[in-house]
Amino acid sequence: MDALFGPVAVIDIGASALRLVIANIAPGRPPEILEQASRGILIGRDTFSSGRIGPATMDAAVRAILGFRRIMDGYAAIMSRAVATSAVREAANADIFIDRVRTRTGINVEIIDGAEESRLTYLAIRERLAGHPSAGADHALLLEVGGGSLVVSRLERLQPRQSGVYPLGAIRLRQSLASWHGRHEQRVALLSRHIANVVADIGREVQVAGATEVVALGSDIRFVASQLDAGDEIAILERERFLEFSAQIIAQDEETLVERYRLPQVSAETLVPALLIYRALLLQTGATHLVVPDVSLRAGILVAMAGGSAEPALSDFHAQVIASAQALGEKYRYDVAHAEAVSRLATQLFEALTGEHALGRHDRLLLQVTALLHDIGAFVSVRAHHKHTQYVLESSEIFGLSRDDMKLVANIARYHRRGLPQATHLSYTGLSREDRVRVQKLGAILRLANALDAEHLQKILQVRLTAGEDVWALELEGTGDLTMERLVATSRADMLTQVFGRRVVVHGAGVDG
């Protein structure tokens, strides 16, 4: 007999709705959706206008989750994950909200950031679009209009190359005009102008023009797909048909939409802003249609929870993160060869020290990303470029890395040269103790790896590290004279010694090329 697979529940607390999905998951099988539920509650309307979740909204949300709980109980769901995105994340009283949900419903809500959101969503897209013609496009655009934010990614054969999260969600936009009382047409004109400005900004970060496929996600575009009978799992909306239909929708005010399409009020409120965003971006591309797969953040979480197929997904995911880091590097005109060399050497050191640092695969990924990008501050100024790198990274987006990840990456990069962490380094001291240790360990490895390519000539091909009682012997293999590398490495092993308590002795084994 097969193992008993219990169903799992995923709750997603978004800006315009709370949603629940219940699914059977089993290793090696795609999740089987048992039930989906949603309650339209505009948390975003509160957060994006007043910065807080109002008491009535909080009550409504808690009641909705209590209802979800009843649904989950009907399946005896064995495992659940509840996540909240921008509308809760940006609320000043997010902690109170999460605490109240936990007290009243027993459900622990976890706040995830935009990057984690897009990573999870991406997992679902990849699964759904596998084998679909759009998966083969060299330049596809992935758009997700949520209540609080817009995520735009450039995909190359389904691999994300560039990605950005923009504060252009449907609820956020609507709230920006909340106190403004004008005719519907004027409202649409104002929204369009604002969207046009943001879209122009997006174009500078993510290559929008020239996309041949546009993959669109979000409940508003799903509504359009259902209205046009465009298909279920992967709906295809022809460009002209979409433009024509969305123009019809946009011309109607909320009351008319509720009446005509029997939409819940909350859906009617987000529909027009969302469609304006999709239109604006579609018109920048040459795509002949929109691909609307039936996927969501929740579906991605399910894929992630399914576990069994997670391993191949992880290496794939790492490749995407690296690709996204490389794209960021290109933006700041990094020295590709040096960056790659440092990344390679840092990885070798990381592997060699596996027994010593007790860090995991995700940390290795952070190290690789940092190694690729440690010098990008030089774009601003070569002087004190490690400090420039730090703040540039802190305000950048890398696909698949969370805000917390980016803080780590920025700190690790900061210590690739010059001063070691000090109590006066605010960004560093703002980290948790665990993360500070992580920065120390990874920073030490990066510092040494960078020293090994001090001349940016990629002379060192291989490092070997032999751990003795209190001395680590580092053996360098490379081409040409490695004296310089040996000297610099010896001096930059300072942090490694401080962190791991071992003296580092560097031996050169140069081979003339």
Binding site: M1, D2, L4, F5, G6, P7, A17, L20, N24, I25, A26, E32, I33, L34, E35, Q36, A37, S38, R39, G40, A64, G67, F68, R70, I71, D73, G74, Y75, A76, F223, S226, D229, D232, R262, P264
Partner: protein, 702 residues
Amino acid sequence: MSTTASSTPPFLNRELSWLAFNARVLEEAANKANRLLERAKFASIVASNLDEFFMVRVAELKHAQAEGERRPGPCGMTPAEQLTAVSERAHELMHELYASVTGDILPALRAHGIDFKTIDRVTEHQRAALETFFHDDLLPVLTPLAIDEERPFPMLASLTVNLAFWLAPAAGQSEKRLAVVQVPPRLSRLIRLNGREGYEFVLLEDVVRLCAEALFPGQVILESSAFRLARDSEVDPDDDGRSFVEALEAELRRRRRSSVVRLEVEDSVSDGLLALLMRHVHVESDDVYRVPSPVDLRCLMSLVDLAGFPALLDPHRLSTTVLTSDEMDDIFTVLDQRDVLLHHPYESFDPVVRFVELAAADPDVLAIKQTLYRTSGDSPIVKALTSAADSGKQVTVIVELRARFDEARNILWARRLEEMGAHVIYGVRDYKVHAKACLVVRRTSQGVRRYLHLGTGNYNDRTARVYSDMGLLTSSPKFGSEVSAFFSALTGYSDPPRFSTLASAPHTLRSRLRKLIDREVRRAREGQDAEIRAKMNSLTDVEMCLALYEASRAGVRVRLNVRGICVLRPGVPGLSENITVTSIVGRYLEHARIFVFNNGGEPEVYLSSADWMTRNLDHRVELMFPVEDATCAAKVAAALDVLLRDTVKARHLDANGVWRLGSPAHDTPVDAQAFLDELAIRSAPSADDTRFQPLTGPGAGG
């Protein structure tokens, strides 16, 4: 007379169409080919139908008129014109009904030993017994109410039988006095007399009259007349913070006080007494129905239960079951392998009851969710749900309390379920939950699976013996998720979902039906063979009719089987010449809603709880679901086909709104209900577990 698209309004009047339906039922009462007690039953149904018609439909027309509505409806008539026409037709019907009952059915019953006696025909001995009965049992519960300047006319309950007594003027006065006595509604209307053999009855009101002097001692009774009022019954629960049940209980009280829409009175009444009654209950002469005794023919229904007359009733047939007894004990395993389609009453309702019972007893079942509407009080389903809740399963029941005239009964069992730990939802605001669905969530080795029953009729094992309905048992995951979401929406845990497989009113059913009709239209315009076959209880929605007219004009063949009201005018050149409408009134009450769309030769078969009435499509919670399993779909389509080909019971609607029996069949007559009866017996699995084999039509089975 020819009817063309331009000369007449495109719609028939729905009230007259309803009366035409009741006339068809009356034809069955008058039809000597039917067995005598079945005829009495039909007569009783006609009477009871008319009661409801007055309380609901006539009341609504009167409202419209009172509110000054002068615009004509889709049929081209104003409310006032409709009231006049309805009154005229209803008077004719009542006349025909009594002609049949008093002139034919009652005399025939007497010949069989069932005798309705008037007081002048009872023996001395019987008279003495009646007097004893009156003084011992009746008098204590009677309250004569005198009516004069100080004492206004009492608020007599709707549909109860009352007696009006006209008394001689009091000493020194010149005016005759009026008094009213309510005949106790809780006592049996028919009082059985002791006799040698057979049954002899007198009417309860006649016993009261016999001993009326005891009610008015020392007074002279000039005249007495039985009468009955029908009142406006529109339920309009207001939302003032009371629980819905409380509101409904209050509404039941209020209903007794609402305005009178019809006065029935014995035809022996004098003009003077009648005028007095009319003045007191505020009715016009159009609303008065003078009928022979007995008023209120619903009492005929109780004759059906009399012992000893099997020959006067249709033979009681044991409905066959489509599952073997082994399968009945293991329905979930059956459903893991295939869908099961049930056609009641030809096929037993037992599998549905068993399905719920098994779910209640199965330790792997986590939850049961069900809609309940007009279920019988001692229903085995309610019992199973109760025990399931008791054993800790999540039981969710959506109880519809607004089923007309059934409320008092509903509240009882709903309360009981709730006490037993089930989560009972008393309907949803503004919408009556009419969908029929039962969902079982069960843990299996493959994860959670859902098993469900969706149907066209209520979860009522009793009416399932008389109502012709269809139901589908399935474990289709698609259905499972959508029906789960449907329940979560009804319980308020989720916003209404958008379905891709099912359609639900009030959200998507109308637009889905439109799309299905439009697709046939498109195919017809492309020159493909296009056809819509649909069966429903009533067709009154103007938009749906217009869609069918458009289909007809495009060349789509539209074949409708509409039991009751049909406002669509078929066979009008340039409008509806490709539409035929038939109606079957027979032994079983046609109740299934079946829609089959030809779809270019790949027919799609749907079942639904909804009629094509505005009420169902916009103001109720309904479901429509496709029958996807090929065997089940073929079975549904074949049954519909038989019903559409009936040549014995089917009446055909013409362009003028007249229903006629079809011309005598050119070949073998087809009595659809009888055929389906036989088909079910032939198709039932025998001991060696024969599977159901659908026949594609009458005669096809050899």
